[in-house]
Structure formats: structure tokens, C-alpha cells
């Protein structure tokens, strides 16, 4: 099955291990990706703080590129996914904004290309049996808490999340790998986002509140699909490894250059396996 693919800026910086793990897992599942002919930054959290036109324009730039390929767009980074899905929502529902963006970017919006996070793509039940069949080394005995954060969750009409207060798709994926998933209170809490760069002391407070709950729940590690959550929570505490969900899938499938990915973490996860 073929999809188009938006790497995002963190694919060659802070989230290298996430992208490599995601690509390894999608390849194992036989999912083919074609990178967009050209792509820009989605604007992250900065564009919308300064100008809504900039935020929509940058994200729509990439939707226009995806329209050229005509296949549903896979967006691994949670922040990029949120921004592109938000622009797609505006293009779909706001005729005036659609006309402005079409004129600015010189394209015609067909609305035929869906915006998909990697979770959207492979947490779908139709992949479940294949995922189970690919597990070579079940994550037996590994206690995990799934941390969804903000960007793949809110607002629900844009993310398409299964449950805005208690999402379960990552939990179900981890169960399919044989991990022991623990219920906990902070699934959709905010890690502080950009505060990690602007007010690190405040991000540290939020991060440690989340990790307190994860530790109290008895977790060996925290699982996320968001590059900013991973960075904030990994950098600002020394109690728990913070894993991308595709890293754990790759470990269970025994694919990819895992030893190298573990070295990119602040809290070394090698001891988990």
C-alpha cells in the first residue's frame, strides 16, 4: 500500500531515532512511502503565535505538495500532524480561507488526501494481526504507560482521536506487542511544549508531575508518539526512559538499528530489554 510522506524538521535533528524506527516498522509492515517532492517546516508552535496566516500558509504549502502525489499523507511528528490536519480542516470547512490559500500557493485543493499520523495508520485494527505476526520478541514483563500529550489528541475534530480524555490506540498497540500496559492519570496532560526552550524551569515542573504519576503507577518506561513530548520529558528528569512507540515496535519486531537509537536518549533505555 502506498502513501506520501512528510518527514518534518525533527526528522534530521531531535527525533532522528523516531523517524528511523517509524520507517523500519512501516517497511516491516509492507507500507510504502514516497517523500513529498518539496516540503517546508509546518510552522511548529511558533507560526501560530505570531500570525495565523503564516501558520496556515506553511502547513498548506505541504498539503499542496501532497496533492501533487495524490496519496494519503503520513506525518510521523505529532506537532507537524496537528498543524497540517488543522490547515486541512480549514481548507475543507472555510471557503474563504481555502480561496486565499489556493491563490497564495497556486494550487487547487481537492480534499482527497487524508492527513495521517503513524498512530492513525497502524493502530487501525486491520493491521493488528499482521503486527502480532511480526513480533519476534514479545515485550513480556515490560510495564509501560502510554503518554499521548496534546498534539495527536486536541482538538478532537481535527485529530480524529478515539477518546479525547482517555485515548487507547497506543495502549492497544503496546498490548499487541506483549507489553503490560498500566492505566494512569496523565495520558493527555501537557509536557509544556515550547516552555522547554522559553521557560525551562516551568517545563521541568510539568514534566516531573507527569513522571511522578508514571513512577507511582509502576511503569518501567513512558511511551509517546510526540517528538516534543519525548524531548521535554527525556531531557528534564532522570527517573524513566522515554520511548517512541515505534522504537518499542522495532524492538519487538527485532528490526532497525536499535542500539544506535538508544544512545540518542538522555535516559538510556538499553536496560529495559
Amino acid at each position: 500500500m502506498k502513501y506520501s510522506y512528510y518527514p518534518g524538521c525533527t526528522s534530521h535533528s531531535t527525533a532522528i531515532e523516531y523517524i528511523e524506527a517509524s520507517l523500519a516498522v512501516l517497511q516491516a509492515l509492507g507500507i510504502e512511502l514516497q517523500e513529498l517532492p518539496d516540503w517546508s517546516c509546518c510552522g511548529a508552535a511558533s507560526a501560530h503565535n505570531l500570525s495565523s496566516t503564516l501558520a496556515l500558509g506553511l502547513s498548506a504549502f505541504n498539503i499542496a505538495e501532497a496533492e501533487k502525489l495524490g496519496a494519503d499523507l503520513v506525518i510521523p511528528c505529532a506537532g507537524c500532524f496537528n498543524n497540517l490536519a488543522r490547515a486541512d480542516y480549514a481548507l475543507r470547512h472555510d471557503e474563504q480561507k481555502r480561496r486565499e490559500l489556493e491563490e497564495l500557493l497556486g494550487f487547487t485543493y481537492s480534499g482527497k488526501v487524508a492527513m495521517l499520523s503513524v498512530v492513525d495508520l497502524i493502530a487501525d485494527p486491520r493491521w493488528r494481526e499482521q503486527i502480532k505476526a511480526l513480533v519476534k520478541k514479545p515485550l513480556q514483563g515490560l510495564k509501560v504507560v502510554c503518554y499521548y500529550g496534546c498534539a495527536v489528541v486536541r482538538p478532537a475534530e481535527i485529530t480524529g482521536v478515539d477518546d479525547v480524555e482517555n485515548p487507547r490506540r497506543l495502549d492497544e498497540l503496546m498490548i499487541a506487542l506483549g507489553a503490560e500496559v498500566i492505566d494512569w492519570s496523565c495520558k493527555v496532560d501537557c509536557c509544556g511544549g515550547d516552555l522547554g526552550l522559553t521557560h525551562p524551569d516551568k517545563a521541568t515542573v510539568l514534566v516531573n508531575g507527569i513522571v511522578d504519576y508514571a513512577v507511582a503507577a509502576g511503569a518501567d518506561c513512558l511511551v509517546t508518539s510526540c517528538a516534543l513530548c519525548q524531548a521535554n520529558v527525556d531531557i528534564r528528569q532522570q527517573r524513566l526512559p522515554i520511548m517512541y512507540f515505534t522504537e518499542l515496535m522495532a524492538e519487538a519486531f527485532q528490526v532497525g538499528d536499535r542500539a544506535r537509537w538508544w544512545k540518542k536518549h538522555f535516559n538510556d533505555p538499553a536496560g529495559l530489554f
Partner: protein, 175 residues
């Protein structure tokens, strides 16, 4: 009259039914940053209703909001606070009001300058620009070094191809 105009302007620009807010405070109870706000989210909604434009544009609240959208998700009246904050931030900058939290604005400007230049973010030069703007050279230096040693801060930028179109987007945004 002025206060009604302000409410109408913010409602139109954000697309949010701010007039429906009846101060239940669910937004503030779920807000991870409310302690850092000078006016909590429920009060921001009330101040928009009352047309307290100057106070809002000068507030710290609009810059400390991290747009986690917990508030909007839980509002019984369907008001999304985050887009309202975006409208207020944009008005603050457009009207030349000094932002109450300049560090945040410095960061977003450094970040978007990088996009303007490369079409993508180049962390090394973006962070240098941010450090120069804030003159805080030692903060989180250890974190930066550790990221660099883990190969997470590349030295060379990667660029988008169509930089002219990126420039058009910035021009259209008055940035």
C-alpha cells in the same frame, strides 16, 4: 461601544462564541499554566466580553498559554480558548504593544526567521539567534551540548526547494 466592537472583532477573528462564556471555570481548572497567568483563562474570556483590550494585550497570560487546548476541549459552551489567545497575541504585535513575556516572542521570531531563510528550521542557527536576542548564553548550555553529542543538532541546514513561495507566505503574513 468600543467594548462591543472589541468583542465582535475577537469573535470574528477567532471564530469562537466568546459571548456564551458563563464563567464555569472548567478552562482554568484544567489549564497547566494557569498559575503563571496574570489573568486565568476564564478571566481572559470575561475581559474580552468587557472590551478590556489594553489590559489583555499587555497581559502575560496571552504569552504563557502553550496552546495545549485542554480548555477548549472541556468548555461546555464550545469556546476554544487557544485560537482566542492567538488572536490576542497577533493584535499585541500588530499594535506595537510591548509583550509582557519578551523571551517567548524572541523565541518565536528566531524560529520563524529560520523558516523564512531555509524553508525549514535549522536548530543550531535558530538557537544562536535566540541566545543573541535574549542575551542568555549559559541557560541550558549542557542540554544543547548533550543534544549535539547525540547527533541531534546538525551543523548544516537542510533547505526547502521553493524558497520563493515561502517568502510569499511570509509577505502575505506581514512578517
Amino acid at each position: 461601544m468600543a467594548q462591543q466592537n472589541f468583542l465582535a472583532e475577537v469573535m470574528a477573528a477567532s471564530g469562537q462564541p466568546i459571548n456564551l462564556c458563563y464563567q464555569c471555570r472548567k478552562c482554568t481548572l484544567g489549564c497547566p499554566m494557569a498559575e503563571e497567568f496574570d489573568f486565568p483563562p476564564n478571566m481572559v474570556m470575561r475581559m474580552v466580553q468587557l472590551g478590556m483590550k489594553d489590559e489583555l494585550l499587555r497581559s502575560k497570560a496571552i504569552w504563557m498559554c502553550v496552546s495545549c487546548e485542554t480548555c477548549g476541549t472541556r468548555c461546555p459552551n464550545g469556546i476554544k480558548t487557544a485560537p482566542v489567545m492567538d488572536v490576542l497575541r497577533e493584535a499585541c504585535l500588530r499594535e506595537g504593544v510591548t509583550p509582557a513575556d519578551p523571551v517567548t516572542v524572541d523565541f518565536h521570531r528566531s524560529f520563524t526567521d529560520s523558516i523564512r531563510k531555509f524553508g525549514r528550521v535549522h536548530e543550531a542557527t535558530m538557537l544562536l539567534s535566540y541566545k543573541l536576542k535574549t542575551k542568555n548564553f549559559t541557560g541550558d548550555l549542557d542540554v544543547g551540548l548533550k543534544l549535539f553529542l547525540r547527533g541531534k543538532i546538525p551543523l548544516l541546514p537542510k533547505k526547502a526547494k521553493n524558497l520563493n513561495k515561502i517568502k510569499d507566505i511570509f509577505k502575505k503574513s506581514d512578517l
